[in-house]
Amino acid sequence: MADSPVTDAQLIARAVVANDNHAFAELVKRYQSGVRACLRKLTAGNHALADDLSQDTFVLAWRHLKSFRQEARFSTWLYRIATNCWLAHARKRREELLGDRTDELADEDHMDMSHTDEMHADHARGASLKLDLERAMGVLSDAERAAIVQCYHNDLTHEEAAYVLDCPVGTVKTHVLRGKQKLKVALAAYGKQPE
């Protein structure tokens, strides 16, 4: 008879009670792809940053594993930590920019606008849609991007997304709605293409 696979709950119990590093390594192997993919979306395709944040996510998960109460799936809990890591990074980066480089911020705003122009030009050149979508996600606010990534990319329900984002379900719906409106504007050229 084949061995039944060890469940997440069993691995978590071994990691918490026996301080079993191998059990936690198995959890990392199981979820690394999902967490890294989620963070690649949140960072608008910055793979190096996404991997750094993924590493921070798992280190934080290890530190707080005892506080995981199984009230959500383990993957959802990891997405929550990953989103918080990304939000903290985004906030820190913004503070650094606001602190002493206001000019660069203005340049970056200009770059955002030129991004949009560049995006339309890419459409004309027939550049890949995936790249366009990644760039368009960069136009969204942090909260809108996080809500869209959780609801679409991570395939979470609104309730699960609310748990991940630590906000009411209504707020998640609002962020998704606003995000989609912005994406529609940014990707207007795609929407107008004949099917």
């Binding site: 690394q32 792809s33 280190v59 995936k130 979508l133 395939d155 329900t157 529609k184």
Partner: protein
């Protein structure tokens, strides 16, 4: 994860949101299907984990011994004060009216407290 869960996402856009929904769902499915190879990621995470705090086995007896030495040292350094505290405590106890029923009551109270503490500890475990 099933793609059927997409039914949870109502199209909240006023009009023409279908193509965007389709685009986002297609992109999500493509991304989910593309498994990201580990390529040493797990090893890097495991190397970055904080080392467990392991207390040496000799730590507890040494701490107990040090506190004992401090207590004995204090007792010898200020013998008068220790003697005075001891006498005061004795006088306080001796002044209490001691009866058989009082002793029984105290014993019952102590047993009750012990049982309650044991029950609480077992329940916590």
């Amino acid at each position: 994860m099933s793609n059927d869960r997409r039914h949870d996402i109502p199209d909240t856009a006023p009009e023409g949101g279908d193509w965007l929904d389709r685009l986002l769902v297609d992109d999500a499915i493509t991304s989910r299907d593309a498994y990201i190879a580990d390529d040493g990621f797990t090893a890097r995470v495991m190397a970055a984990l904080p080392a467990p705090v392991m207390l040496p086995a000799w730590r507890t007896p040494i701490v107990v011994a040090l506190w004992s030495v401090v207590a004995i040292g204090l007792a010898f350094a200020i013998p008068g004060a220790v003697l005075e505290v001891g006498r005061g405590a004795y006088r306080l106890l001796a002044a209490q009216p001691v009866s058989l029923s009082g002793i029984a009551g105290a014993a019952v109270a102590m047993i009750g407290l012990t049982c309650a503490a044991a029950a609480y500890t077992l329940r916590s475990n």
